[in-house]
Symmetry: D2
Subunit: 93 residues, 4 copies
């Protein structure tokens, strides 16, 4: 992963950590359920942003490398991995 | 929200906080992209678990109350709120 | 379900049927994968539109009725049903 | 797309078409909302199955080709396309 991408992802995760703590406080303060769900949705969206950064990097590096290989098994393995990740994205949102 | 539900949700969010920190470490250590994405997916799934707790509570309390009301506007408002939350669930996974 | 809602949902499903046939044609004509995926995504979005119509109707009728009941088991059953639907929405997008 | 993959995708879409017609009938017959939603979820899941077939084919052919190219712009374009598809998958489930 390029340093720039990695630093960006880490910075976002740090912000996400703060948001998760914020939701704990909202629960402790007895805030309205719908407001809490708006916040959890925002955190999920932010996590997807991190996932996109990591996924884009993965396609540009590991997958790109494997595709240049003459070994069909290596290519097949990478495609399967990407498909598994996409399935996970769907299942867990 | 019942105390038991709230405490459960807070405990889960604390664990999620730790998981988010763990992903930061994985990035710093240059771990494999697909392993990182497996972890982010696990965190998203855990957040959905919290959302389900909050949503179930919301239906059992606020929505149940509103449905008993004779004021159709109050009922319509609650249904619209629930539909908005469902739309958010879909959009952000 | 009100007649208006039902007719709207049926009209949309008829349009979706046509879109699904269109995707079959795209495949037969050997169209570009990404264009096909854009179409499948549009159909999924259209199906979610139908789901929202049905869900909104369900909340306004069956769920609203159950919430007025004095039988806690009936209320619990409806909430569980709604939660199951939400879980399905998440899993299958 | 290989003939085998294409035929499989077309066969599935034909089945999906029948399922969509079945949901129209359920609505006309005034069937229970939750049963209808179970069916729409099944159709969405079936569409995702088609999307996976098309996506896998896309990665194995167009993306694999582009990755072998020496033109960084061509590679970047394919990666961007895949990322856009993933975003659509998330948004529309």
């Amino acid at each position: 992963m390029t340093d720039r991408h990695r630093d960006k992802a880490i910075a976002r995760l740090r912000r996400i950590e703060g948001q998760v703590r914020g939701i704990q406080r909202m629960l402790e303060e007895g805030r309205y359920c719908v407001d809490i769900l708006t916040q959890t949705s925002a955190v999920v969206a932010a996590l997807h942003g991190v996932e996109d950064l990591v996924m884009e990097n993965h396609l540009n590096t590991c997958v790109a490398e494997a595709m240049k290989s003459d070994d069909p098994a290596e290519k097949a393995e990478k495609v399967e991995e990407v498909m598994n990740v996409i399935t996970k994205f769907r299942k867990h949102g």
